[in-house]
């Protein structure tokens, strides 16, 4: 293998459990004349890749795609079923909260324990202790039994140890999800520093934004197979596409407004229908970035109401409210509603990134009349390749900018 290749994986297959079990099953099947199966389920199928020294490889994929299995095999925790895995260096898996941690021991004692588990000598651990203590920011809690800790505090402890060992290869599995923003920011910074020191990092997450931010190269796993390996932007875009397709399928099943059970609100005003219209004014499933969009809401008021307040939340597939459109009650003071009526929210320029979005609609005055989560869903596309490239196909909203040379 080339000199700077630090991890080499060739035709890796992995099935969990003792290899004896499928062998016995296969033998029994043959004896009974039943068709032999491949003995599945396979956690990984024929995965191959290489990582060079100092590189950071992101690994994305949906739940159960085989991300964590891959890390386990690289750490040498579980043997590969078929194929060849070659690692050149000290591997440190980032131990997630509560692993190896004894609840009755204090934070400091647990750091010693984790250090020993990770292969540090006692002198090395004591030398690192102040650094770790400072990194964890646990204050006096550092000398209190871990059983009193919250999940976030435990994660800080684990992260503090992992970030301060001298590894050649660091495996990070889904750990930035915990911790408050300040600590997360600190972790990013620390990971950046470690990257600069030339440590090879494998970073697993199902948050594509995190991966995009930290990893130049990304491996996309689906069903144990490696779907794509390339630069972060293309891989993440592909991942978004696949996730959106699955997400769209999931929400389409719930789209009929009239069948929404358990609606909140008094019901004096009901939302009958919510539609998304494209720039031509046609009801559509797809709208385009930088073009017009209208959201039409059909209402039915059972009694006369004025000063109605309507709010539309636009929610991305990551379940984040991207923006909100609010019709303030001060604007509808003189508008009396009764019976069926429609209102349109006109958005002159859609600034959403391509993807799948859903709408939550709320109608209230001093009391809540109606609240309809996932009242409608729509896709956003951006066909202008140049415009898309100008945004690097990244981020959570689209915004135009002008570049001006000043010299």
């Amino acid at each position: 293998m080339a000199d700077d290749v630090i991890i080499k994986v060739e035709g890796l297959w992995k099935r969990y459990g003792l290899p004896l079990v499928p062998a016995v099953k296969g033998f029994a099947n043959r004896l009974l004349g039943r068709p032999s199966t491949d003995g599945g389920p396979w956690a990984l199928r024929d995965v191959s890749f290489e990582v060079r020294r100092g590189e950071t490889l992101g690994i994305i994929g949906r739940n159960g795609a085989g991300k964590s299995t891959l890390l386990k095999i690289l750490a040498g925790v579980t043997p590969p079923t078929r194929g060849r895995v070659e690692v050149r260096g000290r591997v440190f898996p980032m131990i997630e909260l509560n692993a190896g941690i004894h609840m009755e021991l204090t934070g400091r004692e647990n750091v010693r324990l984790l250090g020993a588990i990770m292969g540090l000598s006692r002198r090395e651990i004591e030398a690192k202790m102040p650094e770790i203590e400072e990194f964890c920011e646990l204050g006096e809690w550092f000398d209190k039994p871990v059983r009193m800790y919250s999940d976030g505090m435990l994660a800080r402890l684990g992260f503090g140890v992992a970030m301060n060992v001298d590894a050649d290869i660091l495996l990070i599995d889904e750990v930035l999800a915990v911790g408050d923003f300040a600590f997360q920011a600190k972790c990013y910074e620390k990971i950046r520093a470690i990257q600069n020191e030339g440590v090879t990092i494998l970073f697993v997450s199902h948050n594509p934004y995190q991966v995009e931010r930290l990893c130049p190269h990304v491996l996309f796993l689906e069903d144990g197979k490696s779907v794509f390996l390339g630069n972060a932007r293309d891989t993440v875009a592909l991942y978004h596409q696949m996730c959106n397709a699955a997400y769209l399928k999931c929400i389409k099943n719930h789209d009929d407004v009239s069948e929404k059970p358990n609606r909140q609100g008094t019901g004096e005003v009901r939302i009958e229908k919510v539609e998304v219209l494209n720039s031509n004014g046609d009801v559509a499933e797809t709208v385009h970035t930088l073009q017009d969009m209208r959201i039409r809401i059909n209402l039915k008021a059972r009694k006369k109401v004025t000063a109605l307040q309507i709010r539309i939340d636009v929610i991305s597939s990551a379940q984040v409210i991207v923006n909100s459109y609010m019709l303030l009650s001060s604007r509808t003071q003189h508008k009396t509603l009764y019976g069926e009526c429609s209102v349109e929210c006109r958005v002159p320029k859609v600034l959403l990134m391509p993807g799948v979005y859903t709408l939550d609609v709320v109608i209230k005055r001093d009391v809540l009349f109606d609240y309809l989560p996932r009242a409608a869903s729509f896709k956003v596309e951006l066909n202008d390749a140049e415009a898309l490239a100008a945004s690097d196909n990244k981020g959570i909203f689209y915004s135009e900018a002008e570049w001006v040379w000043l010299l």
């Binding site: 579980t78 060849r84 692993a99 004894h102 020993a116």
Partner: protein, 267 residues
């Protein structure tokens, strides 16, 4: 189909240093963790053999068991102390891997460190219950001699046997818990098949051969003899024990090695 291969060219630090470091960390964790949330703390280590001693003394009142002229309390307690060490060590081995699931699933460690830590932790209990034993010996004015140097040897052999048996329980128990649940029964049975509440001499002649298959016989009898009678252990018996330990290890070691690779898969 070729078997998968995992090659790590970078783990130069692996070795004895690392192993003992880890062992030490696990043992201190066990001992500290075990006692930090109890009133009696390490005193629990004393209570178990004392409790058996009281029961055996009562049983003896009913069954008229010989104690070869030694005060019965001392006779039985001097065997119960090493036995309790052995049986606790075996019992601790069983769930040792399961209890460390979090670590086993994350780090590539020599798996044998977990049962080894279980046995070493039990050594600590042995030291605690030894204190009462020393007190008793003063009370009964027992004179000791050079034969005491046999004690560490015998304890080491018991530790090896306990680790051997414990590894089987840990290996299979990690996959299916049954054998872990069965351990207490097994140890009760073993207790009665070892000369602890009665002397070796009172075992009927025709059962002696079968009885000697138990490797603990020579070790316990030797321990008691060396401590109280100032006698060198019967080397024939010790030889049988050694043979037993060697047999256990020849079978258990390869089984544990191959099964332990897949521990992380089933935890």
């Amino acid at each position: 189909m070729t078997k998968g291969r995992y090659i790590n060219l970078g783990n130069k630090k692996a070795g004895f240093d690392r192993f003992f470091n880890l062992l030490w960390a696990l043992v201190t964790r066990e001992i500290k963790g075990q006692y930090r949330r109890s009133f009696l703390g390490p005193a629990w280590a004393l209570l178990q053999p004392l409790f058996y001693m009281v029961i055996f003394t009562f049983v003896r009142g009913v069954l008229k068991i010989s104690s070869e002229g030694i005060p019965y309390v001392l006779f039985t307690y001097s065997a119960l102390v090493p036995w309790t060490f052995f049986s606790n060590a075996v019992a601790r081995c069983g769930p040792s891997v399961i209890q460390n699931a979090g670590v086993v699933k994350k780090m590539a460690l020599p798996r044998i460190v977990f049962p080894t830590a279980a046995v070493v932790t039990s050594l600590f209990d042995l030291l605690m219950s030894g204190i009462i034993l020393i007190g008793m010996m003063f009370w009964f004015h027992i004179r000791v001699g050079w034969s005491l140097i046999w004690l560490p040897v015998l304890v080491l052999l018991m530790a090896l046997l306990a680790l051997g048996v414990g590894m089987v329980i840990a290996a299979f128990g990690t996959y299916k818990r049954d054998i872990v649940f069965a351990t207490p029964f097994l140890m009760q049975f073993w207790l009665l098949a070892t000369p602890i509440m009665y002397p070796l001499g009172s075992v009927p002649e025709r059962w002696q051969k079968l009885y000697m298959l138990n490797p603990m016989v020579g070790l316990i009898e030797g321990f008691r003899g060396a401590l109280i009678k100032g006698a060198v252990p019967d080397l024939n018996l010790i030889f049988f024990s050694l043979l037993g330990i060697a047999m256990v290890w020849t079978i258990v070691w390869p089984v544990f090695r191959s099964m332990s690779q897949y521990f992380a898969d089933v935890l």
